[in-house]
Amino acid sequence: MNSRNKSFRFSSLPSSTYIFVILLVLFSITVPNFFTPANFSTILEQAGVLVLISIGASFPIMTGGIDLAAGSVISLCGICMGVFLHNGIPDYIAVIGGVLVGTLFGFCNGYLVHKIKVPPFITTFGTMGIAESLANFFSDSRTIYWKENTNVHLIRALKTDLLEIWFGNGNSKLFSISGIVLFIFLVVAASIFIFNKTSWKENIYAIGHNIESARLCGIKVLKFSIGAYAISGCMSGIAAILILVRSNCATPIMGSGMEFQAIVAATIGGNVAEGGKGSIPGSIIGAFAIFIIRNAVNYLGLNSFVSMIITGITLLLGMVINELIAAQDLRKGGVRV
């Protein structure tokens, strides 16, 4: 039979798309000032951190593991970068150094999980505390800041507005894209490209499905599985850059709690706990979905705890939708590539 079933399948889009659209429509109707270009450009910039670590969180989840240390690694990388900058090191080097720290940390996580075989939950649970301690140690539990000197070109460059559209009398910005947004876009595009176009995708899926058979198939399991954690650490480092740039200082609790939001976003995006499937764009859209909840709740002036409730319900709803889509897939049959 050569005729493929050409009807639209829900599973052709990442599952978080539906939740995102539902929330978007809901908020655009109920919240004044939400559906405005100014708000969207703000969201683009603010959600960057969450988007990046959601991408980072997807990789370990796809291999059937988890990275609970992501938030603490953000703090650690941020503090390292802060300390470097404070001591006058040029910003390019400081930033690269911070990201390297994160990647190295992620590598250690992966090593513990896949070489020493400590279950990922425990490993990252332990390293979460370790990273947090180190961040406090290096910063003496204080905020670190640095002088506005010539060493911070990169940071200044990231903060400038690249594209601005002025409205009316030119006093209120209508839409703007800052260097940060461009930066986020580049990183995201690179991640999607690397994941889809290189052998990463198939290999990680295979490892997630069944690590033993993957190994028997000749896949370099260690390289990809440890790599998944290294990527998560790397993303934490890059996310730390964003926070650093926006607040112009580094605090030892910069990233606390973010790992959970990342895991929620990745899960809504279709990265399931058993591993073996999932998508990066799914995580990205999931991250936006979660972010607009908080954005909308703030606009409404409601208690931030309302946002917690809505996020919890969204998560459950997202899972139900995931399940329905999977069921529909099964019914319609055929192999999805």
Partner: protein, 341 residues
């Protein structure tokens, strides 16, 4: 509460009238209106409220955390203050992750998009929020620092208390009570917090004046009752005799008292802490806590709102407005209990 608000309103009206006279001061701190909760009633005179105009004013109040009574009280006061002023709308928000400076900056950006006229904020981090202030300055939005200062940027005014002085007063009260002799332990807050650091500095300054008093240990318990309890359990294990405890905020002390009770050692120590709420007031009445301090965050918030309102109507506001702190002990605790209920 009502007494203060009418007091403050009188202050506002009098400020409006005073603009008639040329003050010419450049907002120097000699102008600091020390609004202690005693009689600083200025003759109201002809209140020129009509000069306020009919322009709609939007403000936003951003607390550090929505999880502490202190800040929710501030939010209440800010709303009440805004309600007293004509055509002022205020929204009170707090970051989802408590003490997250990044989230506060996000809220500021959102508010600027919405077109607020003034941002009143208790900064989670005095350095990080400088970015938020800058964004306000660029957009022409006023920034008022309530309770916590910001290190850089063009801030309209700051309302709050002098934390170092607070620390000094509290520690001195403890040392006096101990007759200048004894060992004490200190409970700190999350490090890097300007408020904590100032209070600690005040503690140490006072204690230095009493050579018979030794600081056994000083560690953070993150403003949390459970952690305060756990820290006290550690202290109790390490130190066979503790004569007194000093804490920068009350939750930690209340947790510590439970640990001391469980070990049967709560009689041996004198506890001094800071901030007022019904639980600590009851503890003072029961003799479990010796003294606490009342900084009346509500006043700070309300004054911040009023200052923003004045500035938006072209009235000069002093750069720093100190509010007084009252020491609450068993002597005056009854006044507070009736006030709090």
């Amino acid at each position: 509460m009502k007494k203060f608000l009418s007091l403050a309103l009188a202050a506002v009206f009098s400020a409006l009238t005073l603009t008639g006279c040329t003050i010419g001061a450049n907002g120097s701190s000699t102008e600091a209106a020390s609004n202690d909760s005693n009689e600083t009633v200025v003759s109201a005179g002809t209140a020129d409220a009509a000069a306020a105009g009919t322009k709609e004013i939007n403000m936003v109040f951003i607390a550090k955390s929505g999880q502490l009574n202190f800040f929710t009280d501030m939010m209440d006061s800010a709303e009440a203050a805004a309600a007293m002023l004509p055509n002022v709308h205020i929204k009170c928000l707090a970051p989802e992750t408590a003490f997250s400076a990044d989230e506060q900056i996000q809220i500021i950006e959102q508010s600027i998009n919405e077109g607020v006229d003034a941002v009143i904020c208790t900064a989670a981090d005095s350095t990080a929020l400088a970015e938020g202030v800058k964004k306000c300055n660029e957009a022409g939005v006023l920034y008022v620092a309530a309770n916590t200062k910001v290190k850089e940027g063009d801030v309209l005014t700051w309302t709050g208390i002098e934390n170092k002085e607070v620390g000094y007063t509290l520690a001195k009260a403890l040392c006096e009570k101990l007759n200048g002799q004894g060992n004490i332990v200190i409970f700190e807050n999350v490090a890097g917090n300007q408020t904590t650091e100032d209070r600690l500095a005040g503690f140490k300054e006072a204690i230095a004046e009493y050579p018979g008093i030794t600081i056994l240990d000083s560690q953070p318990a993150d403003n949390d009752r459970e952690k305060g309890m756990a820290l006290m359990e550690n202290y109790l294990q390490k130190y066979p005799k503790i004569d007194g405890t000093l804490s920068v905020t009350k939750d930690m002390t209340l947790g510590a008292i439970e640990a001391a009770k469980a070990a049967g050692r709560n009689e041996e120590m004198v506890n001094v802490t800071f901030d007022v709420d019904s639980d600590v007031l009851t503890a003072i009445k029961n003799g479990e806590v010796y003294a606490t301090g009342d900084q009346n965050g509500g006043d700070q918030a309300a004054l911040a709102v009023f200052s923003a309102y004045e500035a938006l109507n072209g009235i000069k506001v002093p750069a720093e407005q100190y509010l007084g702190v009252t020491l609450v002990t068993a002597d005056n605790v009854d006044d507070y209990i009736s006030k709090a209920s």
